[in-house]
Subunit: 364 residues, 2 copies
Amino acid sequence: MRMDATAIRAVLARTPALNIERLRALIEVAGLEHVLERGAIAEAHLPAAAHAYLTCPDTVALQADLRWIERSSACLILAGEPSYPPLLASIASPQPVLFVLGDASALLERRQIAIVGARNPTPSGRATALDFAAQLSRAGAVITSGMAVGIDAASHTGALAAGGRTVAVCATGLDQVYPRQHASLADKIREHGALVSEFPPRSPPRRQHFPRRNRLISGLSAGTLVVEAALASGSLQTAGFAARQGRKVLAIPGSIHNPLASGCHELIRGGAQLVQTPAQVLSALEFSLTGEGLASDIRPVGRRGALDNPYEMLLDALALEPATVDILAERTGMTCASVASMLLILELEGRIAPHPGGRYGPLP
Amino acid sequence: MRMDATAIRAVLARTPALNIERLRALIEVAGLEHVLERGAIAEAHLPAAAHAYLTCPDTVALQADLRWIERSSACLILAGEPSYPPLLASIASPQPVLFVLGDASALLERRQIAIVGARNPTPSGRATALDFAAQLSRAGAVITSGMAVGIDAASHTGALAAGGRTVAVCATGLDQVYPRQHASLADKIREHGALVSEFPPRSPPRRQHFPRRNRLISGLSAGTLVVEAALASGSLQTAGFAARQGRKVLAIPGSIHNPLASGCHELIRGGAQLVQTPAQVLSALEFSLTGEGLASDIRPVGRRGALDNPYEMLLDALALEPATVDILAERTGMTCASVASMLLILELEGRIAPHPGGRYGPLP
């Protein structure tokens, strides 16, 4: 059976035990157009299952896949190709093949931020997801989530409402929508972004697909923001993947009496960054602003730095020669109010002393 | 004028420019009973103001102080004495003299935890302060705060309600109660703990006293817990002192829409530890449990450790020889559910492989 590039991709997508190293070996041996030739398959030293499938692919499945691909204009991206998302390429064992519906460039053109959370959020959590997704979209980020009910749907919707782009990662083949109630949301996402899956058409929403979906969400994204999540939830699993992929994990705090804040709080206790505003998300992910920008200022705050360093700066400025609050404010770039309050603390600690003329200096 | 030890302490308490080093020098030169003798004063090389006051103390103030001390059974503790709180002694420039009303042993017998926060808390914040103070008291901690309205008063009250001990640090002389409405609370604190101040009797609640009060709260305590606080508030100042004194800063999160959670969130972003439960407070402060203990388990969670280390443990356990989930759970001490979920993640990452017989092992 003579196959074009799409058919070859579709066969590879169904090949068992095909990881990125094996895919690379196959293509290096023969080039993509020849990977189904017996010589190439033999030379790539594949596991028996992969070898057997490539030698004798399921042609019934392949015909159905190709009909769906043509009808839906889906595209299949192989790891190593220029359109494969570069952040995803950098994780351990990235998906060898991605199915994409909609505009595949949404996966590439801007950095993605994942927003995930509970299926049964509080009204306030849902509003937060909508608002953060809208503001982050306006600032130029693509919002990536899992199209589940609750926080995921609110995140996609917030991005769409702001005229932004959004990527939904699915736990099924892209020929179906899960959950069904999101059919119209999926249409909009396809129009203003993309639907992505590592599963071939007709794959149902199996239990074991969800962790793989979550790993793809975090792997595509510069960071994962958790809005509301219970302990031991799928959102925490996504956050765990993000941390292990070397990506930032951000979490929104809530009342200690809200069980859906517990997951976020455990993440923060484990090292995730607490964020209160969309600006803090962008700052944590070192996004440069594009688009319309944000309402609030972006002010990066380093861990611990906020408590310690300004005092050292002030002590350095004092060491030059005793000076007034105004002069110290000028020397350090801090406000007069900050300088005055810090001088008081340093004086109480016995580290500086008042000098004549309203000046402060080192201890005599 | 011949003076007894109490009178000498009272004079020292009003001596300007007397810090702990100068007090130590004076006492080393002559012994406490002789510190007001001209020879001793001269030999201690004190600043002019201290020298002048010690040579010629304000006897009218002294007489009034002594009358109040006798009437109220106040005690004066000098830095360096066995009854001076040891944690306070370890900060930079500790207060040379403390006035104490009530049971001075409350400052010594158990470790103190400071609970501070907004003067105008939400009902939920107030309830949290009450509850944490009560539970931490039952676990054996002394609760220290500033006797202000709001979170401070709720913290003292929670400790008292639980039959615990509490210390109120005051920004005035202890002959008065500030704010006035807390007269009956002050009585109870005196009965079941202590009122402490670095200010001599008749000192009014001056603006500049409050930072000094805050520095004393944090300095007495193993850690400072902030319950609700606005940005740029006194509670954040207390937390700043705690951090600079090398003490733990703990903060309770809240909704991002609650302005009184903002201060706590900024602290957490700056390195303070987020706590959800009294058990987490004790764990962070490395308290060993005494008293009735707490309802919830104490489970220390290291920063980041929670996300990373169990996987290494599991990989080590696998490296021995391929094993089933049950055996791996036994080898690592983790639950079967945790092991199963972690195995899935490691398998998806291509770091382990399923082996025959439901076992998992390193990649072949």
